[in-house]
Symmetry: C2
Subunit: 382 residues, 2 copies
């Protein structure tokens, strides 16, 4: 095979950043061989190899349509920036993507670069983030929970990562925006594309107030393959992934699975067992060891709260006999509500000896549970 | 202290069965000292001790109202029978109640005896049983699931144990009866009492077609203490306990906790996280390691199905690209739906080399996914 004229790739041959941009076009996400080669020799050197005819021939099939300078210029015209490993903004979480944690169906490769739009600092924003994912067709219940979690986690200072899709994703992004939170959409297509079209206003707003990012160069169309691979990035970017509502088969489960493979925490929100839309969440809880999430506090617990103190905890209704020991409860339950009973009668009802009941009644009287009346006792109103 | 005239206890002094009946009146359920004494020296000898003034004085407080022969006669007039350890009908599960698994709040003692009504053989019925418990005030959802599980498990040959109370308990018993299943109510009061009164028709039917049993002698009133202790028996009698619907605080959770202490399997049915009526189930799932139950099959899985074969499993919708390997999926997704594309174009879209794409297209053609058309290929309709 003869070496090609590098054409528009010429400048990428000695510019790692441009070379990585080129690789994001040449190779599909999750191409383990490409990722390994670039990691081993660097993106520019690897590109030389492709132009020289070395390496798998599949990488040559897109050479003609690969022009990283043009891609970057188009991206920058939209106000976008390109991130590569080593950049200050490059998110830490992506380092946990390693081919070792992959399997035949997904190599869990690191992206060559990230095409980013939006004003927030990427690494810093994602350092305290949680990924919320779910079905494109949620029930009213699923939408409600998605909005609660999106807003609740934002209010607790967590950035909310999702996929920019219909349904749970969009609801999560919108809820975060509504409370002024940081929110990040990870796309399977180019970040210049408004996909799905019905979310174009949302995606535009995310590009202005939050972050829209992905590994695909401008113009890339979404495919099922790219959606699946995109999920590894959603999983990697956050410390935890929560599936809000998902049917038995749902892309959200693949995100959860990838998160689990990277030892990220995985949560799932249960729903009615009569709702097919929750069957995927129940599957994660039953079969995959996901943690059950009932609300924002549970997610924070899951992520591990540091330095927030014990917190108020759940509100627990106090009942009159709470905290009583066994014999106290037995005596308390033997007290008549209206007419007082003598100690012997109370002892008989309680199955305790009279001396003992005297002592217990003393404690119950102090607690306002027993009230002395004549020679006997009755139940207090405390 | 002077020995008492044994009075109506005379015959119990040399009749273990009557002596155990007497102890079920003298001591409250869960009285660890009484249970230990009876286990150690036998019920009759222990009774001698009480009459002689030995042992805790609390056991003497009910001597005057203890007449086991009269109790047994009254019980038999209702068609009841008394079971004691060693009887063929004595259920195996109660052997797992040992003071060692108890703590200060509940001693997990074995009952002295069981007061039983109903035509079913006790031990045999309970050998393939599951306990279904839950709130007295279920939602429509909780009632629906209770009925589904009660009927479903009955149809799969499992006896259904519950507490005869309002709500989930009653629904479970009724559902089992409706499909001709075996169902067992474990009461906190005497089995001669219809408590709650609104369930009296149900309890009467259970006494005629199923089983109604408890450790309390005739006439015993239900108290909160006895309800709590009753729960250890519900937990012990079955291989597994499933909480159908329960609020954050619910007696059903105490049954689950007791089941867990005896290493029984514990399941819980999730519900909407917006429903307070499911908060207890979610608590069990989150904090106590209960298994998530979505239906009858999950309960059977939990109990361990033996010799039932692989079964049909869940219905899983097949999609056209299911089972494709990575490159097959990439090529399949690059196929146009209408006008065929040439192999080079397909290879470019897929990011694969042309030779490879030729080979993959051959496989996809065999699968009906790719269709040859002129010099190119398009997506098949398979």
């Amino acid at each position: 095979m003869t070496p090609r004229d590098p054409g528009p790739l010429r400048s990428a041959l000695d510019d790692e950043r441009l070379a990585r941009a080129a690789w994001s076009r040449l190779a599909e996400p999750g191409d383990a061989a490409a990722a390994a080669l670039v990691a081993e020799v660097g993106a520019s050197t690897a590109l030389h190899g492709v132009l020289d005819g070395r390496g798998p021939q599949r990488w040559r099939s897109r050479l003609e349509v690969t022009d990283p300078e043009a891609d970057l210029a188009a991206h920058e015209r939209l106000g976008g920036r390109l991130l590569v490993p080593g950049d200050e903004e490059w998110p830490d979480g992506l380092q946990d993507l390693t081919p070792e944690v992959g399997d035949a169906s997904s190599a869990m490769t690191r992206p060559f670069c990230l095409w980013v739009r939006g004003p927030l600092p990427v690494a810093e924003t994602l350092r305290r983030s949680v990924s919320l994912v779910g079905t494109r067709a949620p029930t009213a219940y699923g939408s409600h929970v998605a909005a609660e979690l999106g807003a609740g986690l934002s209010e607790r200072g967590r950035a909310v990562v999702s996929g920019g899709a219909f349904g749970v994703d969009a609801t999560v992004h919108r809820a975060a925006l509504a409370v002024g939170g940081a929110t990040v959409a990870v796309l399977a297509c180019g970040v210049d594309r408004a996909y799905p079209a019905a979310n174009s206003a949302l995606l535009a707003r995310l590009a202005e107030e939050g972050l829209v990012l992905g590994e695909a160069p401008p113009g890339t169309s979404p495919t099922r393959w790219r959606f699946l691979e995109r999920n590894r990035i959603i999983a990697a970017l956050s410390a935890g992934t929560v599936v809000v509502e998902a049917a038995w088969r749902s892309g959200a489960l693949s995100t959860a699975e990838r998160a689990e493979r990277m030892s990220r925490v995985v949560g799932a929100v249960p729903g009615p067992v009569t709702s097919a839309a929750s069957a995927g969440c129940h599957r994660l809880l039953r079969e995959r060891g996901a943690s059950l999430v009932t609300g924002t506090e549970d997610v924070l617990d899951l992520l591990g709260r540091v330095g927030e103190g014990a917190g108020p905890g759940r509100e627990v209704e106090r009942r009159p006999f709470d905290g009583l020991r066994r014999e106290e409860l037995q005596v308390a339950e033997s007290l008549p509500r209206r007419r007082a009973a003598g100690v012997e009668r109370i002892a008989q009802d309680a199955g305790l000896d009279v001396d003992h009941v005297h002592a217990v009644l003393g404690r119950l009287e102090l607690a306002g549970i027993a009230v002395r009346s004549g020679t006997g006792y009755r139940l207090g109103t405390a």
